[in-house]
Symmetry: C2
Subunit: 302 residues, 2 copies
C-alpha cells in the first residue's frame, strides 16, 4: 500500500535545558516517512535547498522512502530553531527561516496520483489543498495543522476539512480551532467541519481518538529520559497511518483499526524523545516496538 | 470495613473564569468522606470552628459518615480562597486562613484505634504522624501531601513515609519530592522512601498507578463542562480507598485490586468538577457511577 506525505524536510536547531544541537535533520515529512517504516510504500512531496545533505536523503531512501516528489530548489533549506522549557512540553520558537519553502508549490508526480493514504503534514492550508487536488480518490486523508494557520488562514483551512477524514492536532490547537474548552465538545465541533475522526495529541499525556462511535485514550509510554521531543507528533502520525494501511482500513471502516492504530502511533512516537533528531527512530531495533507495545497494553488494560 | 481519614473540613471561596462562589463547603476530609461512600464505615478526624454550619455536618452524617473524631473549637473554620485559570488546571491561592486549624491536634477516638484503612489527607506531616501513632496496625495507609510540606517540612515528611503504603500526589509534587523529571524515576525514588505504591494524579490527564510490579495509566473521563475541580483529587482518593476496602485488599495484596481501584477513583472524581463544592458528588444518582465505569473501560481497552 502507498502512503503519500507532504510536509517539511528541514534542519532544526534545538535547545533543551541540557544541550544544544545545531542544524540537525528534522521536518514533519522526514519524521513521518521514517516512522511509517519500510512495510509501506512511503512517498514524500517536499522541497529541499542546496544545503540539504545528500547523506540525509540517502538515510531516507535506504529505508525504502521514495523521494521522487522532493524538489531540489536553489536556496537554503527550511530551518527551525526553538528552545524547550524544563518541562519539555512548552517550547519557544526562536527563528523560522522558510528558505526554499517560501515559494514551494508541491507537485505530486504523475505516478503517485493514485496514492491510497495521504498525510497532509503541518504546512500552509493552500499547499495542503494543492496536494489534495492532485491525488485521485485516496482511501484516507489525514491532516495536521497548527495555531498559526488556525489563526491566520482559518477560512482556507475550513475549506479543505470536508475532504479530510482524520484531523490530528494537539489539545491547544483543537481548542483554538473549535472554540471549545472541553475536548469532547472540541472534537464534536471539528467533526462538524468535515473529519469523521479526530486524534488529539497531548505529548507526555498521550493521545485521544474521537472515533466515529467510540473514544480511546492512550497514555504515552513513560520514558526514563527525554532528550528532544521534536518530531514525536509527526512520528505518531507515521506509525498511525502505517498501521491503518497494514490493516487495509479506509474512511468507511469501523473504529476498530483506528483504535489499534493509536497504539502503533504511540509506540512509534516513543522512540523519538529519547534522542536528538531522528536518531531514536533509526536506532530502534527489531523487536523493540513489539516489546513497547506489550508494555503499553499492560499500562492500559485494567 | 472501616476507613479513617484525617484532613481539613473547610470553607472555600472559589473563583473560576465564569463564576465566583463564597464560602462553600470544602476540605479534603469532606470530599474524601463523601466520595468513599455509604458502603464503608468512614471516620473523620478533623476540626471545625464555631461558624461551621450544622447542616454541613448533617449532610455528612446523613450519608453514613461518622464524625465522632471532629473537634468543635472556638474560632473560625479553615478558609481557603483561590482562583482558577482558564485551563482549570492552574490555580492561584488568594488566601489561606487556618483559623481553628492552626492549633489542631488530631485525636483519634479510642474506639477507632483499630481502623483498617487510613488516609492521611494533605496536612502538616506532624499531624499526619500523630494520627499514625494513634492507630494500631492498619491494613493500609495512604498519604497525600503538597509542595508546601515537601519544601518546608521535608524531613518530617520523609520521617513518616516508611509507614505509608501508598503515596498519592500530583505530578509536580512527585517531581519535587523525588528531584526526578521522569515520572518513572520519580516513582522509583519515592518507593525508596517507603511507600510500595505511588499514585500520580494529573487532573484532566488522568492518573498513573506505579504498582509493585506493574504500571496502569487511567485517563480522566472527558467532561462536557467543568465548573469547579476543587476536591477532585481527594474524591479520587475516597473512591480508590473504598474500592480497596471493598476488595479486602491490604499492603501485601498484588497489584490487581489497586489497578481496579484506580478506575473507581477516576469515576468518583469525575462527578466533582461538574458542579461547585460537593454538589456533583451528592447529586450523583444510583447507576451513574456504573455507567461511567463502563464508559471509562471503553476509553481504556484497545
Amino acid at each position: 500500500m502507498s502512503i503519500l506525505v507532504v510536509g517539511s524536510m528541514a534542519y532544526d536547531t534545538v535547545e533543551t535545558p541540557q544541550e544544544r544541537r545545531e542544524r540537525q535533520l528534522g521536518g514533519a515529512a522526514t519524521f513521518f516517512a521514517l516512522a511509517a517504516g519500510a512495510d509501506a510504500e512511503v512517498r514524500v512531496v517536499a522541497v529541499v535547498g542546496h544545503d540539504f545533505e545528500p547523506s540525509h536523503l540517502e538515510l531516507l531512501t535506504a529505508r525504502g522512502v521514495d523521494l521522487a516528489g522532493v524538489e531540489h530548489a536553489d536556496g537554503p533549506s527550511f530551518h527551525w530553531s526553538g528552545r524547550y522549557h524544563a518541562d519539555f512540553i512548552e517550547r519557544d520558537t526562536l527563528a523560522t527561516e522558510l528558505g526554499v519553502f517560501a515559494d514551494f508549490r508541491p507537485q505530486v508526480p504523475e505516478a503517485w496520483r493514485a496514492s491510497e493514504y495521504v498525510f497532509l503534514a503541518n504546512i500552509h492550508p493552500s499547499l495542503q489543498r494543492q496536494v489534495l487536488e492532485e491525488v485521485e480518490t485516496p482511501r484516507l486523508v489525514a491532516l495536521d495543522t497548527m495555531n498559526l494557520w488556525i489563526e491566520t488562514t482559518r477560512e482556507e483551512l475550513l475549506g479543505i476539512l470536508p475532504q479530510v477524514d482524520v484531523l490530528m492536532v494537539n489539545d491547544s490547537e483543537a481548542r483554538l480551532l473549535s472554540g471549545e474548552r472541553s475536548l469532547t465538545a472540541a472534537a464534536e465541533t471539528i467533526k462538524g467541519f468535515g473529519p469523521s475522526r479526530v486524534v488529539i495529541k497531548k505529548g507526555e499525556h498521550g493521545a485521544v481518538l474521537f472515533g466515529r462511535d467510540s473514544v480511546l485514550s492512550v497514555p504515552a509510554l513513560i520514558l526514563p529520559d527525554v532528550k528532544d521531543p521534536t518530531g514525536a507528533g509527526d512520528s505518531f502520525a507515521g506509525g498511525f497511518m502505517a498501521a491503518l494501511a497494514r490493516a487495509d482500513a479506509d474512511r468507511n471502516s469501523d473504529d476498530a483499526p483506528y483504535r489499534a492504530a493509536m497504539l502503533d502511533g504511540t509506540v512509534t512516537a516513543s522512540f523519538v524523545p529519547e534522542a536528538f533528531s531522528v536518531e531514536g527512530l533509526i536506532a530502534c531495533e527489531d523487536g523493540a516496538a513489539a516489546t513497547r507495545l506489550a508494555t503499553l497494553r499492560t499500562m492500559m488494560i485494567p
